[in-house]
Amino acid sequence: MPRFLIIEDDSQNARFLAEGMRELQAEVCVCPDGVQGLTQAVTGHWDAIVLDRMLPDGFDGIKILQALRGMGNTTPVLVLSALSATDERVRCLKAGCDDYLTKPFAFSELQARLEALLRRVQSAAPAPVLEVGDLRLDLLSRHAERGGRTLMLQPREFRLLAFLARHVDQTVTRTMLLESVWDYRFDPQTNVIDVHISRLRNKVDKGVEQPLIHTVRGVGYCLSTQAPGL
């Protein structure tokens, strides 16, 4: 069971976050201020910390983050912030946070990003070959096959599939895909990612009994041998 620490001064927000995470079978602890939060972060054992950027009493998110990293603590930290300016994001990343989410956000986005954080820690050294069911991706030779049949993929399609495979059984959002596969950070207004996924789906899942690429409604996509429960 993953253990999360939430450091957030808005009690309503914190409560909703905690409830959402408990629904996902996670153990959650909430700290309403920076000092308590840092103490908990250092003494407890956490899989990830959700940290509010702005906390009362001048001991804000950045300071906690710096203190934590200064002590050599490498627990993944996801910063929640009402500040959307780019330099804020850069400051937080420099201070050592692993991901940054601007308020307001959908809970599903937070969930997807937290799962990605957990996964990143587990697979620090990526395997050269990824296997999901009968799908096999060789990252070195850039070769993809499904059930022994070679998939003719464009380079970008291969990256897209590789990203999904690296986050197997995990929901990834459209924003995450654009950031990781195309290296751009903006919010497309149209269904551009959906079109790419549908093309990929045509190549990967067409004519196969068991589809691997699943749509998670309102959130994003998931590569899995089982249809997600959401």
């Binding site: 959307s84 307001p104 290296d183 751009y184 207004q189 149209t190 079109v195």
Partner: protein, 462 residues
């Protein structure tokens, strides 16, 4: 108005202080010049008196040597009565004890001399005491010969000079002070008209302007610049007011909708409630998006992001955009092509430029490429020090009278299409951040967006 003139103590006026300082300087110059003049004049004058006294003395001594002292009386009389300088001339002969023998003045008090030569001596002449500048010599007989002139003339000149100088000084001081006050008033009056207007503006009357005179002087120029600034501020204020109104409208309307729907959700049951809640979640997320976009535009307009600029390879960027959107175009049987000449490079933020281009491409796809046969062509090339980027589609274009408004926030030329009306506003903000320009034109048929960006300096053209 009382506030304007409350501080009318002359010293608080810079013009007064300047004029007064200038007057003071003038006075000082005058004193220095007159002092030099005075010292020179007096020294020349007394020098001449000394020389004449010496010359006369020598002549009389020579005469006594040549013709005997007895003939000296006659010579002295002749000297005194020759009509030259007779008003000021002094010649006295005394015995060795200083007793008067002959001459036109007496020494006061009677005395003898041990030293000879030039000196000032109190004398009595025609019953009047005065100071004489005289040369004294002893004749072989022991008698004393005293020759010189009355210093009254010199003193008289000195006095006249001092009086004239003093009068001039008083006039200068009076002129300086009254001139300073006058100048101060003049400048103060001009400044007061500016301050009057500024006070009215500060009190909220943004329409006030400084009255300009016909003279092209400093105050007119200052006033014109301030008026120009006020015009700009008024324009910006109008813009801000308009933007806040539209923002308020565009956020309040969906918020009201959400509230109403939440209310009705209470009475719904099961599945229907579930669907409504999902719909509401989407609606609130959309609101968040609108909010983010507005903040992003504000952030862009503030120019803060310029600090993170780097070199952006436009060819690579356009290739990525094409890669991202070509499948979307193909979905509807449309075609997207990218033509780049050379390797234009811009200095900027790749994410923002990609965002702007994605926005423009999405627009074109939305309006021109909904049916088969739609076509979008993106071209880029460097022209001089600018990168010229064009997106041409074969869609319906935008009615000419709407063109000037399409970059306004929340403006939507096609009301039926989904969107927030913020896309082109953010494109405009991004282009402005990069010091570029954005133009729209209707082709026949089709629509063209022209985007011009400064090329990065020092990058070689391939």
């Amino acid at each position: 108005m009382s506030l304007l003139h409350a501080a009318r103590r002359p010293w608080s006026s810079i013009a007064f202080r300047l004029a007064l300082s200038y007057g003071g300087l003038l006075l000082l110059t005058m004193v220095v010049v007159l002092t030099i003049f005075y010292v020179q004049m007096v020294s020349v004058f007394s020098h001449r008196m000394d020389r004449e006294a010496n010359m006369d003395l020598q002549r009389l001594q020579q005469h006594a040597l040549n013709h005997g002292e007895a003939s000296l009386n006659q010579e002295i009389n002749r000297l005194l009565s020759d009509g030259v300088d007779s008003q000021t001339e002094i010649a006295i002969l005394t015995d060795s004890d200083g007793n008067f023998l002959i001459g036109n003045a007496r020494i006061l008090p009677q005395r003898s001399f041990n030293t000879f030569g030039l000196r000032e001596l109190p004398l009595e002449r025609y019953g009047r005491t005065m100071t004489g500048r005289v040369a004294v010599a002893q004749l072989p007989s022991g008698n004393l010969l005293i020759v010189g002139s009355d210093m009254d003339a010199l003193q008289d000149i000195e006095q006249r000079f001092m009086r004239a100088s003093l009068t001039a000084a008083v006039i200068v001081v009076i002129l300086a002070i009254s001139g300073s006050i006058g100048f101060g008033r003049l400048v103060d009056d001009r400044a007061a008209s500016i301050r009057h207007t500024m006070l009215q503006v500060a009190n909220g009357d943004l329409g006030q302007r400084i009255p300009l005179s016909d003279d092209e002087d400093e105050f007119t120029r200052l006033g014109r610049d301030i008026n120009k600034m006020l015009d700009q501020i008024e324009l910006l204020m109008d813009g801000v007011r308009h933007v806040s109104n539209t923002i308020a409208h565009n956020l309040r309307t969906p918020l009201t909708r959400v509230l109403l729907q939440l209310r009705s959700a209470r009475h719904l049951g099961g599945n229907e409630q579930q669907r409504l809640l999902e719909h509401l979640e989407q609606e609130v997320q959309d609101l968040g998006t609108v909010f983010d976009k507005l903040l992003q535009i504000a952030e862009l307009e503030s120019g803060m992001r310029r600090q993170e600029f780097g070199l952006v390879d436009m060819q690579g960027l356009l290739a990525d955009i094409a890669d991202l959107y070509a499948p979307v175009a193909e979905e509807t049987g449309s075609h997207l092509e990218v033509l780049v000449h050379g390797h234009p490079c811009a200095r900027g933020d790749a994410d923002l430029l990609a965002n702007a281009l994605a926005n423009l491409v999405e627009n074109a796809l939305k309006y021109a490429c909904q049916q088969a046969g739609g076509h979008l062509r993106i071209t880029a090339e460097q022209q001089g020090d600018m990168i010229d980027l064009r997106l041409q589609d074969n869609g319906p274009g935008v009615p000419a009278d709407l063109l000037p408004h399409i970059t306004d926030r929340f403006y939507r030329a096609h009301e039926r299409q989904p969107g927030h009306g913020l896309g082109l506003s953010s494109v405009q903000a991004i282009v402005q951040l990069h010091s570029g320009s954005l133009h729209f034109a209707n082709l026949a048929p089709g629509f063209e967006v022209q985007l011009r960006l400064p090329a990065a300096a020092g990058v070689e053209r391939a």
